[in-house]
């Protein structure tokens, strides 16, 4: 049995082990990788950055804990960016296992804004982020398509009270805020089919600017909506999150993870090449043997 035959019969667990070793070793090594910002992420940042203080952004945290790795960094980077610019945020969580996780993330981000922090060379004074004033967390309701349509009529129809049980009418932030007409844009951070509903039933029906943050698995299939203008921009996976963190001058877990991504991808490409070489060499040998 020569090298290529052994390669074709290699136990896949060796590949997993090698990948784990490379990922952990890269994670433990301190270095930076350059992150190039793509236009589809740049437009999202520019859109949010150009909003005036006091304007309202709706951030839909439409993912479960299993998509947390890719989408949490986006939530953190975007919410921090919005609050730093003194924008107000309406949060929803239309994914069934998401509300508790979203609530925890909102509290974490609020806490981090209590301290003075420098972003892109500009010092921002820490301030208290107050529920009902700076943000309103609407929580979860089942049947996301109907919820999206109902919010276009009045936020109070699907959400008479916020996640904490406070009636929307008693929240200072929600005074005069009826539906999407009072919202500057909707940011959907999603790990599933809810994005389709935001495109068809939300943007398509009510015409608000829709910004998407998607898991890597989903990203490629939503590019046609970018070309058609139905979507303003797309942040794709951990790379999209890292690009946003870079533009916001707020390096976090996504930028930290990109150096591991680089080497993990190199290993996978190496294995793909080795697998293909092994396959074609074995096939050629098999054909030669058949001719004899």
């Amino acid at each position: 049995m020569n090298f290529f035959d052994k390669l074709m019969k290699l136990d896949r667990r060796w590949v997993f082990l090698f990948l784990v070793v490379v990922c952990v070793a890269t994670y433990m090594t301190e270095f930076e990788v350059p992150i190039l910002v793509e236009p589809e992420t740049q437009v999202i940042f520019d859109f949010v950055d150009e909003l005036e203080p006091g304007e309202i952004v709706l951030i839909a945290i439409d993912y479960d804990p299993n998509n947390l790795a890719e989408l949490h960094p986006m939530t953190y980077a975007m919410a921090e960016h919005c609050w730093r610019k003194k924008l107000r945020i309406i949060f929803t969580s239309l994914s069934q296992n998401g509300p508790g996780m979203a609530d925890q993330a909102i509290r974490d981000i609020s806490d981090s804004l209590m301290q003075d922090t420098e972003y892109n060379g500009v010092m921002y004074e820490g301030r208290e982020i107050v529920s009902g004033v700076d943000y309103c967390f609407l929580g979860y309701k089942p049947y996301y398509a109907l919820v999206i349509l109902a919010m276009g009529q009045d936020f109070r129809l699907p959400f008479p009270a916020d996640y904490y049980g406070t009636p929307l009418d008693s929240l200072p932030m929600m005074q005069g805020v009826i539906n999407y007409d009072q919202v500057a844009c909707v940011v959907d951070l999603s790990g599933g089919n809810i994005t389709d509903a935001w495109i068809s039933y939300g943007q398509g029906r009510f015409g608000f600017p829709l910004l998407l943050g998607l898991t890597g698995v989903m990203t490629a299939q939503y590019y046609p909506f970018l070309g058609s203008g139905q979507v303003v921009g797309i942040m794709g996976g951990l790379l999209g999150a890292a690009q946003y963190e870079k533009m916001a001058g707020n390096p976090g877990l996504a930028m930290d993870g990109m150096r591991v991504q680089l080497y993990a991808h190199m290993v996978i490409i190496l294995f793909i090449i080795m697998g293909n070489v092994g396959f074609f060499v074995s096939r050629r040998k098999q054909k030669q043997a058949e001719r004899r």
């Binding site: 667990r13 236009p39 890719e70 296992n97 309701k141 058609s228 877990l253 591991v260 993990a264």
Partner: protein
């Protein structure tokens, strides 16, 4: 971090490692983690549905009514109708009355279809067709402001989108043999499809690695760091005790598996001799 939170963090680390252990082989730790996730998710969903759905959208809206009057004396008495429809769904558990559940199901499907068809047609078919059939921007063929192949509005991108979409559709047209020019277009279509699948595969690899990276970050920053963080005001020996018990469990399992592996290998060799 207090000790209780640290114990839960240790449990999260254990469940993480138990899940990854499936990459080696199926085992009781993985089974435990798998069943735990399914059970917790289902339980959590039911509670969320109750508190966020039924309580706020039904019970609180009918709160001014009276149970003796079946809440029909409430100011918003019409909320009794969807409640009744919901109750009718439960008749599925009875063989004799399961037909009753078809009424709410029929109503739901009818409304959902009525809402979905025009919006889906408009937003997922028509708008995509309009976007595909735009006039090629020859003045910015290689991208606005010079040479930019990432510009989705460049003439080249528009041309690729149009020819790609048409040729991919041709590939799926099986009423005519894929020969000659038609076959060539179909072949171009399959190449376009493969490029699309390749892009999806690349993103998927990134997504899967991201999941692993996040768990490594969690184990390092939330578990190991807190186990060793003596500057923590709540820190005491219990943190390290829990940590090392966990490490012993992991090492013990690895040693057991290695002994089993080499034992079976030795037996196979001796059987071969």
């Amino acid at each position: 971090m207090d000790f209780t939170t640290f114990c839960w963090t240790t449990f999260a680390a254990f469940v993480t490692l138990a899940t990854f252990s499936f990459l080696y082989k199926d085992n009781p730790f993985y089974k435990f983690a798998e069943h735990l996730v399914v059970g917790v998710s289902a339980g959590y969903f039911v509670i969320i549905l109750w508190h966020q759905g039924l309580v706020t959208n039904l019970f609180q809206r009918l709160a001014d009514g009276d149970a003796y009057f079946l809440w029909l004396n409430s100011d918003r008495w019409w909320y009794v109708i969807p409640a009744l429809l919901g109750v009718m769904m439960w008749t599925r558990f009875s063989k004799q009355y399961s037909w009753v559940s078809r009424w709410p199901m029929g109503l739901y499907i009818g409304i959902a279809t009525g809402i979905a068809i025009p919006l889906e047609m408009s937003n997922r078919v028509n708008k995509q067709l309009y976007a595909m059939m735009v006039q090629v921007d020859w003045s910015n063929f290689f991208g606005h402001g010079g040479f930019n192949l990432l510009d989705v509005n460049s003439g080249l991108s528009q041309l690729i989108v149009f020819t790609g979409a048409v040729s991919a559709l041709v590939y799926f047209f099986f009423s005519k043999a894929h020969t000659g020019i038609f076959g060539g277009v179909a072949k171009f279509g399959i190449w376009i499809l493969m490029i699309g699948f390749g892009a999806s595969f690349g993103f998927t690899v990134m997504a899967r690695i991201s999941l692993f990276i996040q768990r490594v970050q969690f184990i390092d920053q939330s578990w190991i760091h807190n186990a060793m963080d003596t500057t923590n005001e709540n820190y005491f020996w219990g943190f390290q005790a829990v940590f090392w018990i966990m490490i012993l469990l992991i090492v013990g399992y690895i040693v057991k598996e290695l002994m089993q592996f080499f034992g079976s290998k030795g037996r196979a060799e001796s059987a071969g001799q």
